[in-house]
Every structure is written in C-alpha cells, then in structure tokens.
Subunit: 333 residues, 2 copies
Amino acid sequence: MATIYKVAELAGVSLATVSRVMNNSDKVAAKTRQKVEAAMTQLGYRPNSIAQSLASNRSNSVGILVPELHGPFFGYMLSNIELELRKAGKHVIITAGHSDAEREREGIEFLVSRRCDALILFVFAISNEHIKTLRESAVPVVVIGRLIPGMEDDCVSLNNEMGGYIAAKSLIESGHRELACITGPLWKSDGQKRFSGYKRALKEYGLAFDQRMVAEGDYEELSGRNAMEQLLQEAPPFTGLVCGNDEMAAGAIEIARMHGIAIPEDLSVVGFDNVFFTRYMHPQLSTIDYPIDKMGQMAARCVLRDVYGATDLDIQHRFEPSLVRRASILERI
Amino acid sequence: MATIYKVAELAGVSLATVSRVMNNSDKVAAKTRQKVEAAMTQLGYRPNSIAQSLASNRSNSVGILVPELHGPFFGYMLSNIELELRKAGKHVIITAGHSDAEREREGIEFLVSRRCDALILFVFAISNEHIKTLRESAVPVVVIGRLIPGMEDDCVSLNNEMGGYIAAKSLIESGHRELACITGPLWKSDGQKRFSGYKRALKEYGLAFDQRMVAEGDYEELSGRNAMEQLLQEAPPFTGLVCGNDEMAAGAIEIARMHGIAIPEDLSVVGFDNVFFTRYMHPQLSTIDYPIDKMGQMAARCVLRDVYGATDLDIQHRFEPSLVRRASILERI
DNA sequence: CTGTTAGCGCTTTCAG
DNA sequence: CTGAAAGCGCTAACAG
C-alpha cells in the first residue's frame, strides 16, 4: 500500500506538500496540487488514518455507549448519529452498557483507551459526578436522554415528566377517571419522571392517586405482562392505562386480551416512545413520541461543534414530547 | 496522560520491557513484571491504542457494513458481533450501506481507509467478484447472509430457499390450497431464494403456480400494504399468504383487516425472519426463524479465527430455517 | 507557497 | 531475560 513518501517522490515534491493537499490546509499552488493528486490516484494512495491520528493526536472517531444495540429504540439513534458524523468524515465506535454500572464503566474505559475524540453517552447507572469527572479529566462528553445540571450545553434530552403528564391527560380528557399506570424502572430517571407526570395530571384533574393502581416494570415486554397481571388482581377497576414504554404496553395488552378485556372498548392504553412497531399492533397503539432520531442527530452536532470546530449548526438541546393518538384510546362521550 | 516512557522510567526498566509486560509476550521475570505493573497503576497508565496500531500494523478494529442500523433485524446481529469481539478486546466500526451499490462501496472504502483488520459485510448490491477482489487486495472479509462460491469458509448464511419452502408447506399442510405470495425484492438473492422455495412447495404438492398470486415488495411495511391491495384486486381468492418478511406481513394484515378479512379465519399468514415484534402482533404472526443473532456471533468468530489467530472456536457456517407456528395460521380441518 | 526536521507512543528485531 | 535502536506513516512547527 502506497505511503505518503511514494506519492511525494512520484509527484516530485516533499511529503509536507502532500500532507497539505490531503488536508486542504494552507495554500498549495494549483499546479502542485494537480501533480500531487495525479500521483495519488496513479498509486491508488489511501491515507493511513492510524498514522494521521497518532501524529495529529486526533482519532477522528467518536465513541458511543448505549444500553443496547438491538431493540426498537436505539437503532434509530445510532443510525442518525452515524449518518451525521460520517458526513464529516468521522466514524463511530459503538458499544453497549446494558444499563449496568459495571458494564457502563467498562464501556467508557474501552472507548477512552481507543482514544475517541469525544463520547456520546446514553447511560443510566453512571452518576452525574462520574460523567463530569470524566469530561474534565479525559475526554469531551455529550449526554443524551438525560439532563445534567451544569452541562446543559452538552445534553440532549426529552421532557419525560411532560410526556407522562400528556399521556395521563389524554386519557383523562377522553373521559377516563380511573387510570392505572405501569411505570418504567423507578431507579432510572426517565422512569421516575414519566411517573411524576402521571401523578401531576391526576392531581391537576382532581383525581385521587392510588398506589394499588401502580405497578413497576423494567421496560421489557415481559415486565408489562407481569405488571398487568398484578394490576388486574390488586387494583380497583380502571378504564385507562398509562405505560412507561411501548413494549410494556404490548405485554399489558396481551394479558388484557387473555382476560377477555377488549382494547379500547374496555380499556384505553397509551404507551411511550412511539417505536416503529406501535403501528403494527392491533389496535394501533397511542403513544408519546420520543424523537430519538432527531436527538441522535443533535448529539452528533454537539460533538462536531465541541471538538471538530464546526460552526453554524442548529442544535436543539431540549425536546418536548407529544401525543400520537391512535386507535387504542376510546373516547368516552 | 502517562506514556510508556514514564512507566519505564518509574519502574527503572527500558520501554521494551514495559511493552513486553503489556503484551504478555516473551518471558519477563516475575519481579520485573511486578515493578512495571506497580508503576503502571501508580501512573494510571493506559496504552495508546493508536500508537499500538501504527507500530504493530494492526488496528484491532473490525469494520461492519450493514444495510441499516435501525429496524428490527440488524440490531440483534450487531449486538452479538460487538459482544463476541469485545470479549477479545477488539472493537467494531459500524457503518450503513442502505442496500445501494454506491453507498455500499463508499462504506467499504471508509472502513478500509480506517485500516480495519477485517470486514464483516451484509451487503446486497455489491457483486461476488467485487468482494473477492477486495479480500485478495485489501483486507480479510467475512460475509453474512449470503453464500459466495469459493469462500464458503468465510460466509455465514441461511438457507433462504428452504425457508420459503417451509413457509408455503406449512400452509399447505394446514389445508390451504390457494396460496398468494408477497415476495421480497427479487433482485436481492434472499428475496429470490425465498420465492423459489414457495414455488417448489407448490410444485411438490401439485398446486398450480399462478403469477397473479404473486406481488413483489421491498421488505418495507408499506410495500406489504401495496402488494396486498394488488393481490386483493387481481388475484383469484386465496386463503393462505406467504410473505417475504415480517414487516410486509404486518402491512398486508393491516390491509386485509381494512377489507374485512379476518386473520386467521379468512386468511392464514406466514412471515419471515421472526423479528421480535411478531409476538406483539395480533394475532401473533407465524414466521420463519432467522437466527441472525447466532449468525452474527459466527461471523465474529470467523474474524477471530482468520485474523486474530483464535483456535478452538465452534463455527457454524450454514443455518437451516425453521417454522415458528403462532396464531396467524388456521388449521383447516 | 514549499521543504526540513522533529516527533506522536508504541512494537519489534537484534544484540547481549 | 533485558536494553538499544530503528521505524510505523503522518502532522506540524519553523525556516526559507
């Protein structure tokens, strides 16, 4: 594989000049540039990005840590991050943290040792403090899905509380007075916030909060099933169900159906996230839109701005959720 | 950030020795090793993987090219590849090709310039010849989802023809005699093969093939809808439907429902891939299992074996599909 | 505008 | 078993 020396030799210039035409840096005489470019194509020259990184102290890679690579949610985020970054010639190194403190820490360690120029983190277990320390001591960090006080400019997040509020409110305004709730894991900030929104809506409409109407899940479909079984057994009758995410809603609906409860005639359901498969469900699931794709793009732009000197990028840091109304809500007169 | 020099200095040895303890290569006296390790932890030393790569001419990174990062399918593959590779201290650089010849070529170019030690490709548009040239001239390649003659040992694939056959057969053996088919894109080998399987089953059971019973889609849900509309308009009545993948099946079912066709009472449906959301559909979709997660793992192992010298790895190259029977098939007596 | 000259931080012979 | 020395291929001052 041809090196920069060969190119310089063939073009009859110094290797510094070749480097300059590669990086479009400085001024190079048009003629010289042409000679160099000719030599490059003739030799099929491809710059060695490893060597570039070592010399420039920049790897042109961005490390991404997400809870999971599979599932209906993160793929869309990754997709947009990759797209936005690749347009700028940067690449992504992706790794999974599995919402576990140890694995998240490990993942970060891995990415740092890979000398990523920046990290984009979607993490739950790691503390705000840890993240702040990290970015002060090792590498620029952009956080997605969570708002860390003091680093607002490097966070891209959704107003989860408002999402929970809207979900409950939509049911209430459709005439439902008895609302059950299957929450996400309450140790995760988003699960907690969504649940708070649900409670705020109840209060605002003068509905009593009843702990028996609440069951905690872990965002997996199975936990939605279990939670629904529990509610059916322990909660007073309810006609509305707010779910912490779409997967748990799918599980809950399945169980409801097994108990002869018709959706939406007997029970109206709202999910959260608006993942793609909600349209394939029957009835189609009403849900709260989580613009994860857009948010991924924004996180990528933060990196472009912070570490690669891009300017003129529109960046939105805070997103507001909205209701996507579909067939799973019954309007009660 | 501490370098190898600092460590050597603090430990009172040469940097060559430090290098040796890092790589567990050669023999190092136990005492020396301890001194070095103490120095490393004391300094919080982290080897610079960029420099390692340059010096060793090995990037420890594996490039992955998939059609899309989002959707219900590839995430599972990526997840397993990442897992398997990271266990070996390698990392993945992921990029998307969008089933487009130009973008796939670009993606490969990108990964090669990144000096990946190997490539794992899930591509459609690029020819067998191109792939062979690539691996002869630039970088080891493992191909997933397709079987290339002459490089069987570096392919991990599914018997798609058999899958199409089983899908159709399951319907036939459940008493259905009129089978429609919504195929995947016929320019893609898997779409083509699955369709062949469908035809083989018809022939085997003495059922006539009727071109009006076939509509081509592109694996997206929308195309499933369109295909179904077309079949309902142009095909003779049918009680069974074989779909090229699960998403198109979801679209087709939606349309059927809009036409007052009950699933499975009026129409039995079989999908393909067994993506996770088939369980959330109602009725749950019968489908052909595509063990993409396992296959991802196998591809990773091929790389480990081919370029990182791993031995003793169980590697399965060819996978056989199987039917996952769920509620969308009606047994006719 | 172009060439010279140091490295970037590590691996890897080659001696000893 | 350990050290010295020569790069890996490129970037980035610094001169000119």
